[in-house]
Symmetry: C2
Subunit: 470 residues, 2 copies
């Protein structure tokens, strides 16, 4: 199946929009009746929405305590795109999976590893590496950040943490400018920009410390946690398990290609109108719409002021991720930084395609931002910025122009987290807002998406059981 | 509610068998009819059995594909004891939870953290520390074990790994005896014995390397992964969530105080007879009985030879874990090693009781093994082996004499893993064997128990759907 998302380029075919993916669902909807009132409508079929839809559709404790006839909630999954996975999906071309977005997993990420173990996918993983050192950047307390972020899974920020959240990475680099050699500074900047997809000025220093703390306060930990394993079959081979399990519960209705226009939630339930005018009704709703597009949907009554303001601010990650299939075999284990002048900052050899070519993946961001499909020449030149290479194919997804994401993984500018994290996590009447963008632990990651989806499903199930929590 | 398990001693009351726990289930059974044929019978209500019972009782994909009338499997949970939790349970005395067995959790343990996040218990955790250094012991490859155990979640052992599995820690210490200072040697030995609960001769060196690899190949990682957090309300406050969620599905029947005598599985289903002669029938069975007591149950037809042999060998962990409430406030942050002559090897201050006293917990094992209830004097002397202290209360569970465990957490002697891990994980007809003792990842840990319970439930659910896997 081919998604409308993504691009590929080869010399023979030129630039083409749309690439194949096992995450495309066919038929795109199984809605039976327009009159159904669903127990819960989940908007968004990324990992958060998938987890929420699956966990809610599996029978819970509602039945014995609330309604014996009801075994598992009746769920409607609405998705704007033609595929599952949101900002994590893979395109399988000639038997090789190109990861268009979120890629890496590690066993230290509890939510994602629990699902990998549960689906028995431990042996479907590969690993890879990069290098650098960041101790000077994070050593704000003589303990490499341990005092400032002692417990990264808590949503409560200490006054010290708030101070660093109001500081950008550029501010922090200015503080320690006399301690860094020129090369150390370049390395630290390139690594931070790879994480944030923003600029040094728009990157919250606290959020970087939060990643660092989650990674065990060490660069070695960052490598393990951030880029250790990816799926041999691509991310879409993981996401499809969630979807299949939810579907087979018999409780899941879904509709892809269904961008939401309006959400009315003033009454006892929720009514959702799609852009094409279709109306769906649910008792509850789980809203997994990403932060940067939340204001593109009309809420009636309007979103709470704090959430609205956070969505107006948005997050800063405009990561440019491009795959190249190249015929140079000697670049298989290359890792390169090309900063500050190149369009792509970080690149590395990531595998060998079935044709025997080398697969290189490279990342840019707000810094020297560009749109790969607007100039294949510029994109190819950015790859040459690492090393001379002979490019046979390009594959990418332009996340900045993607109307359902408007950016890559969440990364906040200074102040957003300390001001709005609580607002973003609050429910509004019958809507539970769940998204990796405001997870407590691995915020921005697939793990955070699953954390949030599980929280949303258990919250809604508790509603039906008439409890505040399980 | 008071369990028959565990002991407490105070000067006023002397030694008493049985301590209170929120893990005791009352009434002890909800079996309605003797004629029911259950979809699956789960034997064992530790974390593995609880997870399996919960995951199987939640509706899965069976219904749509196999039998539309069936929403969630009908589960019978059989437990020999009067409580949930198996080798992890807590006794709450005067508002203070004493952990009688498994205690510590960390976010890097995927299965356990996924459940903590799902039940929203992130803010119900506490932390504590110990110290030492083990690099010389594990540095078999110049990379601190990374080459020998590159991927600790795989069940496939390389020839190098097999070699180290046939070596005891005593063998390894002999190899490096000229590299260790006397104090380094004592430290390494005490730490290994704390992990294994065996002796240096009966402790597989590979298994220790496996723990080390899972902990990120560093002592700092060991501290994080092995003793970082425990529950403010005790382990039983975690286990009870699994039980409640499973029960509320409406699909769970259970019977505590029901030790199993015979398991007949030659026909199309499984028939289980308890010691008191009660008979239960199921289409499938999940057997979460620990390795050291597996041979105390009669299987008809008998267990496969490899599994039988592994159970005859058993594991070596005879950990002695004793809590003391002491009036010495200056010992609150003490950590002590008393080795090789003392009955208890490791001890540390672990909290303050509501009475304002200090809580000290200490560990011994096969080395200088003793039974605390046989001599309160000997037990108190073993505490004095760390530092003079004024003991007001002792609380403990004698895991060695416990007929349903015959030991503490799994730790193998040399050879067991490389010879029998595959045997232990194999199913036999309609029985899926699931236990932390043969988990792939955090084997021996609560995390491994949940990993195994999830695997068992999904295996049985796949059976009902007529698939080999989801």
């Amino acid at each position: 199946m081919t998604s409308k998302d993504g691009y590929s380029w080869t010399k023979a075919q030129g630039l083409r929009a749309g690439v194949p993916s096992i995450g495309v669902i066919e038929p795109p909807s199984n809605v039976k009746s327009a009159d159904t009132v669903y127990d819960v409508i989940v908007v968004g079929a990324g990992y958060c929405g998938l987890t929420a839809a699956r966990d809610a559709s599996l029978a819970g404790w509602t039945m014995a305590e609330a309604d014996p006839s009801q075994l598992g909630l009746k769920v409607l999954l609405l998705e704007a795109r033609d595929r599952i996975g949101g900002r994590s999906w893979s395109s399988n071309i000639d038997g090789y999976p190109y990861e268009m977005g979120g890629t890496w997993v590690f066993w230290g990420q509890a939510n994602v590893w629990r699902e990998i173990a549960r689906y028995g996918m431990q042996d479907e993983l590969e690993d890879a590496l990069m290098q650098s050192s960041l101790a000077k950047l994070v050593n704000v307390d003589g303990c490499l950040g341990r005092k400032v972020v002692p417990f990264p899974h808590s949503g409560v920020l200490s006054p010290e943490a708030r101070k660093y959240d109001h500081m950008s990475v550029a501010d922090r680099l200015a503080e320690i400018k006399n301690d860094l050699t020129p090369n150390e500074r370049l390395c630290a900047e390139a690594f931070v920009l790879l994480c944030s997809g923003g600029t040094l000025e728009t990157t919250s220093f606290y959020e970087f410390l939060h990643w660092w703390a989650l990674s065990g306060y060490s660069y070695e930990g960052c490598i393990d946690y951030l880029v250790k394993y990816k799926f041999r079959g691509g991310q879409s081979s993981f996401a499809i398990r969630f979807f299949r399990e939810a579907l087979a519960s018999g409780n899941l209705t879904y509709a892809f290609n269904s961008p939401v226009a309006t959400i009315q939630h003033g009454g006892s339930g929720v009514q959702i109108t799609t852009r094409s005018g279709k109306i769906f009704q649910g008792a509850k709703m789980i809203c997994a719409i990403p932060l940067n597009v939340l204001n593109d949907v009309t809420f009636d009554p309007p979103l709470a002021p704090g959430r609205k303001a956070a969505a107006t601010t948005g997050h800063v990650n405009q990561c440019v991720k491009v795959h190249a299939e190249i015929s140079d075999r000697d670049l298989r284990s290359f890792t390169g930084i090309s900063y500050p002048h190149n369009g792509l900052i970080y690149g590395f050899g990531d595998g060998t395609t079935p044709a025997g070519n080398t697969h290189v993946v490279a990342f840019g961001g707000q810094h020297n931002h560009f749109h790969p499909e607007e100039s294949v020449e510029h994109t190819m030149a950015a790859f040459q910025g690492f090393a001379p290479m002979n490019i046979e194919r390009l594959v990418f997804h332009n996340w900045s122009k993607d109307e359902f994401a408007k950016g890559a993984w969440f990364f906040p500018a200074p102040g957003l987290i300390s001001t709005h994290l609580k607002d973003l996590r609050a429910r509004e009447r019958n809507i539970v807002f769940a998204c990796s963008d405001w997870a407590l632990g691995w915020r921005s990651f697939i793990d955070g998406a699953i954390e949030e989806g599980a929280r949303a499903a258990i919250t809604v199930r508790a509603d039906f059981a008439g409890r505040s929590k399980l």
